[in-house]
């Protein structure tokens, strides 16, 4: 379930976006599932509805969710073939920066590989 970490330096809407994506990847949200409405989500997380709405808009633009007027917001069918090259490049760049930082801290490639394995295991729900 999505949650907000107040001590994180990430804006709340980004945390929410990430949370929904994580839930989808872990399978606790599946394509076709209905998401709480902006109002419900705001109340659930005791959070500003504007922030929730902003997160939903980004998720819609990224085609992660879809809002059907008068019905609700749903998780979109995940198309494994379709890849958003722009987003992928952005992530690659971020990863690269992280690796530089890690290298600077004397983290070995082996360790990083191990982290990757752990992360993927986590995604599959351990």
């Amino acid at each position: 379930m999505v949650s907000i970490d107040k001590t994180s330096s990430k804006p709340y809407y980004e945390q929410l976006i990430l949370g929904v994506k994580e839930d989808i990847l872990s399978g606790s949200l599946q394509s076709g599932d209905r998401l709480p409405s902006v109002r419900e989500m705001a109340r659930l997380l005791m959070m500003n509805p504007n922030t929730v709405s902003k997160a939903y808009k980004v998720l819609e633009a990224q085609e992660v969710i879809i809002t059907v007027k008068g019905k609700g917001t749903y998780v979109k069918k995940i198309d494994t073939e379709l890849r958003d090259d722009y987003q992928i490049q952005k992530i690659k760049k971020k990863l690269n920066e992280l690796i530089i930082e890690a290298h600077y801290l004397n983290v070995s490639k082996k360790e990083i590989n191990q982290w990757l394995d752990e992360s993927y295991q986590h995604l599959k729900g351990e």
Binding site: S9, V38, L45, P49, N50
Partner: protein, 313 residues
């Protein structure tokens, strides 16, 4: 398309405060207040006890006369068009008439005061929360009173809700209930909500924007999501005991502990990081930043200055 956009912009409802000033008993309480409150935005008014939050609300709601300045709603002066006051909801915590009346009677009062009062919603909400209409306001518990005031505020259908410490003294369950009502109200129609509090923690996830009231003025005006994105709290140790200029210029120091400097950078960038790294800090660590830190940095340091300059009142 363009034409439509323009018209919605023009039709945008907001409250604009210009050069507001208020002196009580020869003491300046508020001065140089220039602000706009937008619809759909939740604003937190943060200030220490005695900083003038209540005076600000009383002035906006017309309980106090303005010394100078103007308050405009949709470009109309509320001092000229008294009907505009229906767009503002405010209950004075200290001086109000609620206590001797039954809820039924209060409903009648508020229906008369606010032309677009939503009676249906009022009845649903009071019933849902088991508020007996024949009960006198004063015989309700503090929590119930808080809840009731929130129901009145929402059902008034006023566009500007001024809420003075609406969560103060409420237990956790009631607090959640009151906040829930408020969040629902914001999701349903766009209104402007201004909440005063000295407790930042409980407002942190609710508000879009925070105003800091201090030394009679609005000193700071933050959009919190922007702040979360750009501000960082960093703990550093430098070889020499002097704090490098780049740190001094770009941050507010939170505290010193021997060599350890903790500072808040409101506009943290990669370039800034590189500049600090160039000073070769022995320790350089990002710490979780809470809004309280930001406000502490802003509030306490001024105070130190004040006492140094002998400006205490």
């Amino acid at each position: 398309m363009v034409g439509r956009k323009l018209s919605t912009l023009e039709g945008r409802i907001d409250m604009k405060i210009e050069n507001l000033e208020k002196t009580i008993d020869h003491r300046v309480i508020l001065k140089d207040i220039n602000l706009t409150f937008y619809q759909g935005e939740i604003t937190g008014l943060i200030g220490q006890n005695g900083s003038g939050k209540t005076t600000f609300f009383r002035t906006l709601s017309g309980h106090y006369e303005l010394d100078t300045g103007k308050i405009m709603i949709d470009q109309e002066d509320i001092q000229k068009n008294k009907l505009l006051k229906q767009k503002i909801f405010y209950i004075d915590e200290q001086y109000n008439f609620l206590s001797g009346y039954t809820l039924n009677k209060l409903l009648v009062f508020y229906q008369n005061a606010y032309a677009s009062f939503n009676k249906e919603k009022y009845l649903t909400l009071t019933k849902k929360n088991n508020l007996n209409p024949n009960l006198k306001y004063r015989s309700m518990s503090k929590g119930m009173q808080g809840l009731y005031k929130m129901i009145l505020a929402i059902c008034s259908n006023a566009e500007y809700l001024l809420l003075d410490e609406p969560l103060d003294g409420l237990d956790f369950i009631v607090k959640k209930n009151v906040l829930g009502l408020l969040l629902d109200a914001v999701s349903e129609n766009s209104r402007s909500i201004i909440i005063s509090s000295h407790n930042l923690n409980e407002l942190e996830s609710i508000i879009d924007r925070a105003l800091i009231l201090k030394s009679n003025q609005i000193q700071l005006d933050y959009h919190l999501e922007t702040l979360r994105e750009h501000a960082r709290k960093i703990q550093m140790v430098f070889k020499t005991k002097k704090v490098p200029q780049v740190v001094k210029e770009n941050s507010r120091l939170l505290h010193f502990q021997g060599r350890v400097v903790t500072a808040i950078f409101e506009h943290y960038t990669e370039e800034l990081k590189a500049l600090i790294q160039a000073e070769q800090p022995v320790l350089f660590e990002e710490l979780p930043l809470t809004l309280e830190d930001v406000f502490e940095a802003n509030l306490t340091h001024e105070e130190m200055n004040n006492s140094l300059q002998g400006e205490m009142v």
